[in-house]
Symmetry: D2
Subunit: 348 residues, 4 copies
Amino acid sequence: MIEESPINSLASDNVSCACPEVMDAVVAANTGISDSYGEDVYSVNLEARLCEIFETEVKIFPVATGTASNALALSAITPSFGKIYCHELSHINTDEYGAPEFFTGGAKLVDMKGENAKITAEALESTIYGQGNVHHAQPAAVSITHACEAGVVYQLDEISAITAVARAHNLNVHMDGARFANAVVSLGVSPAETTWKAGVDVLTLGGTKNGCLAAEVVVFFRPELIGNFPFLHKRSGQLLSKMRFISAQLEAYLTGDVWLRNARYANAMAARLSEGIAALPGIELAYPTQSNEVFVRIPESVVEALRVDGVNVNDEELDGSAVRFVTAWNTEAAEVDRLLRALALHCH
Amino acid sequence: MIEESPINSLASDNVSCACPEVMDAVVAANTGISDSYGEDVYSVNLEARLCEIFETEVKIFPVATGTASNALALSAITPSFGKIYCHELSHINTDEYGAPEFFTGGAKLVDMKGENAKITAEALESTIYGQGNVHHAQPAAVSITHACEAGVVYQLDEISAITAVARAHNLNVHMDGARFANAVVSLGVSPAETTWKAGVDVLTLGGTKNGCLAAEVVVFFRPELIGNFPFLHKRSGQLLSKMRFISAQLEAYLTGDVWLRNARYANAMAARLSEGIAALPGIELAYPTQSNEVFVRIPESVVEALRVDGVNVNDEELDGSAVRFVTAWNTEAAEVDRLLRALALHCH
Amino acid sequence: MIEESPINSLASDNVSCACPEVMDAVVAANTGISDSYGEDVYSVNLEARLCEIFETEVKIFPVATGTASNALALSAITPSFGKIYCHELSHINTDEYGAPEFFTGGAKLVDMKGENAKITAEALESTIYGQGNVHHAQPAAVSITHACEAGVVYQLDEISAITAVARAHNLNVHMDGARFANAVVSLGVSPAETTWKAGVDVLTLGGTKNGCLAAEVVVFFRPELIGNFPFLHKRSGQLLSKMRFISAQLEAYLTGDVWLRNARYANAMAARLSEGIAALPGIELAYPTQSNEVFVRIPESVVEALRVDGVNVNDEELDGSAVRFVTAWNTEAAEVDRLLRALALHCH
Amino acid sequence: MIEESPINSLASDNVSCACPEVMDAVVAANTGISDSYGEDVYSVNLEARLCEIFETEVKIFPVATGTASNALALSAITPSFGKIYCHELSHINTDEYGAPEFFTGGAKLVDMKGENAKITAEALESTIYGQGNVHHAQPAAVSITHACEAGVVYQLDEISAITAVARAHNLNVHMDGARFANAVVSLGVSPAETTWKAGVDVLTLGGTKNGCLAAEVVVFFRPELIGNFPFLHKRSGQLLSKMRFISAQLEAYLTGDVWLRNARYANAMAARLSEGIAALPGIELAYPTQSNEVFVRIPESVVEALRVDGVNVNDEELDGSAVRFVTAWNTEAAEVDRLLRALALHCH
């Protein structure tokens, strides 16, 4: 039995609150009147800020949830009879309850295997078939998650290789960036390099998991893909009348290096946990730790022992064979260390 | 030319900010960790509070927008091949960009005429046909808006008459309550009397227009209608991971009489405007003023003159023949009076 | 009580069998092997024949039912968030069980009133609004039925006026030609004049009601509208593997003047019935008789008396206020005359 | 170079014509008037005949294509957010262009591997997860093809084991019986034994590939699953107005042992081909031959040589690693022998 209070904060990054800059921005935005439906000054400023961050002209659409963000982005680049290639462990395939299929009007997710929850250019190339053949759903898009569901990031050359295959087959490229900030600081490259410069067409950039209340934004790098998106945005109930309250969050989040600072801190806490675990006998990391998620393989008996200790353990994530711990912008080092002590106690 | 600063706040109730109680509640909720996906204590308390308000067991699902709220509620009570009876001026028919059709998978909105943007039991009775006949889309639901799009409220006996017809034809009854608080204080009845006691099955109760940042909630009065709703809720991207921030708004909104106080004030400001207009020669109210919306028939030349004066005039609303002014929880009496002076100047 | 055998054939043109030329063609096609999925020689010949008939390059897609034909054609020219303008009595609005909504992924049918079940250019012009506004479903297409559901045909200038309004608002134009042959012979114009020369973009040309077993064909006059149609065609289960059996029907139907001969005969039988009724006291035609449908206003007591006589009376059609009789390519004059005698007996 | 005329008939069973009994029945049905929309005497008789064949009360819905038949059946037993478990080589997964996704409104096909294109109970058991969890699309149905896409049939105990797993997880069971007759005669069991007695809930029974023009029928063994099917049937454009022409085909097909005779013959021709190939050196069967399909692994150079000889070779089928030859009710033994000679010539 461990001596301390329960360890509840490491089960998910969705359980954390918003960081002060974001909360303050919402309070500050709550004065006076403001244009509605995204024509407010916060949304306008946000777009300008994202153009700056990505060093190119982008078009943006803020939304309230990551599921909506991904499903909407995919519906802009995939017809109702299209195929979306993705990893079998990707969030769009396993955790969005059919939202991509719903928003696209019936597109088919083609799930692929691949080490560390990443797909490869080779696997993509060998999976595509049937273009132009009316008997087969049509190859339309590829979606990669960055940082991916195993907490691993794609290297620039991996992304470029995938998007080259996509381009050769006329597929559009979507990046699920629910943990985009964590990937950017992990790779140590610019946001532009890891997205459009590497061939990504549409990014769903997340704020919720990294210091916002509820704020995500779809970022289009190729304006010709926008098409009917403004209509799809509205039709899905994601065009908030008081959009200023979403955009103000994202504006604060992306001002200065709040977003990168938060991610850097969360990644550091994950590294602390990961390194601590590596030093323990009888416990194994399931994946390399490259962002803010740490997966460990521990026997069911240890999971139960941890729960008895009051640790909130999430063992349903991913492929079921590993337990996930997630750090956030405000995870305390002491909490990480307490978890390490508990693990040391039970794994030997 | 009027002497004062522009009148911008009366074009819509979506341009207003949140009331202090709601904003404070969000700030207060932003501490520590919290369960995600609606299992947080704020959401649990919110459901308890709504049971109290409606004097019965209800099941609730908070969402971020009114469009999602209506479309989701309708998708729970209408099959993909169903017909939804509604007024031709209803928000679901004119202002939600096909969201009801999208969320239901293709249901057909059957729009009806009716004085003051209200449907009648008689009209409903005479419009229903084809039940059980595979050649016709199937009668499935009726939707009424309360307060309705013309700012008029349904009387209790009108609601009961409509729901009796619905019941006789096995239709489910949806109430769009984007301005439910305004209707309740206008009628001077209890929330229960104007909903389930009058035969309403599902209510979409709005907070956004009356003092929240972005918060709506679907309220089920008949648990057997919920069916797959939790899945539809998630699939539509409306199950926020950090749901506490929506629920905390609604909890504060519905605590004490914040919601009724806000509505009472907005209705009073609308009455002030309406009475002022009634006293002006050469200008006519389009509908009786019974909530927080005032519609006036003024010539295009007056609309233009007002715009020159800096008044933000919304003439696209409703049926195009009237100009809409909307008051909110924080509309200043002085602003109303300035608008009256501007109208007096141009209408004679 | 009338003396003769029951009158069953006049309730619908769907109860009739196929004409000899069509039946013979199916039998003839049933030899040897043939390419599948529409690449057979019958389908190729059919397209050539339709190019000839319409005096222009057309692209065609045969299908098995009129409902599929209309819904597929509409899905090619209307986005999922589009509006389709049509008459309130149109088959797509009342008799296809939501198929247009289903095939389009949620488009909204905007039904209009109009004398004799025809819409007018003026009414269309005044009904269109909201283009480019994300709050409103988008104006996308107009659909007219020719001959229309009341058995009346559109005059060339009426069609041109409607399509001019459509063009001015960037709407695509669909013609439901379930009884196209009847319209063509009634008007005495060429197929080209009443379709693409008058501004029609897509025609669903029916064979089933006029001498085929089950054969309809979608005819595109503007190839740029085809887009993804081959995929939609397959996805809806309407691309028959043994398409030769549909195409062979249509090829025989459209060879020489079989289709026009059948329609001319059916129209003549309808005229015989209509003229006979006009001569009867106490009975009134609901619409002018211009094709193969005759609508009469008779009291419910007469309907019942006719049924006692064994006449199969279809009183559910159209607006419920009239009884429909339909003639076909093989209606016997004696059957028409027997119906006239029965009507004479009961209406006085 | 082979001496004879081209071998065209073995690329697919869709290239064959209808057998005499079926063709004669259509001609015979083409007299007089008949009730429409499936209320004709042929449809009524067909249902009675299927009750007899399956030794139980069944409800049936005839349709025009196999794709529609499968997609409609699946839409009756799977919600829009459901998962359908199937083999990765199943026709619904690879060859129906997203029709199942379209008809169900977005269900997700979960494809599984498995020897000889068959899934196993064990694989199914280990693939199911997430029941009741709103983050995951919901396990809803399993679909097996019998005879399957590799030409192999399921043994009775294999079917029972799969349906037992399905039952334990509240999944409904669909059987794609496009080649059901071939499976029945191959197994030598009764139609009842291999369907409902083994736990199958809905069968799509094909006629098109085995002697019909275009005729398939959805057979419900559990009436409580029918639900809204009549409406879905109509909405999809598959309720033919002159349904008698589909039902008459199926009635003739299922009268006496026409269907089994045709299948027995086709299977025998496949066996002849398969045995001939087994005797050839340097050529290998890809799967055991148990119905009317023979898959052989031959190098690309042989495929090209065969094509030079005029053999219509289908090498796009299945997993791309094998060439498919299909026999039909009217395949000539001489054609099989000619193919064997051509193979002998090129494979050594």
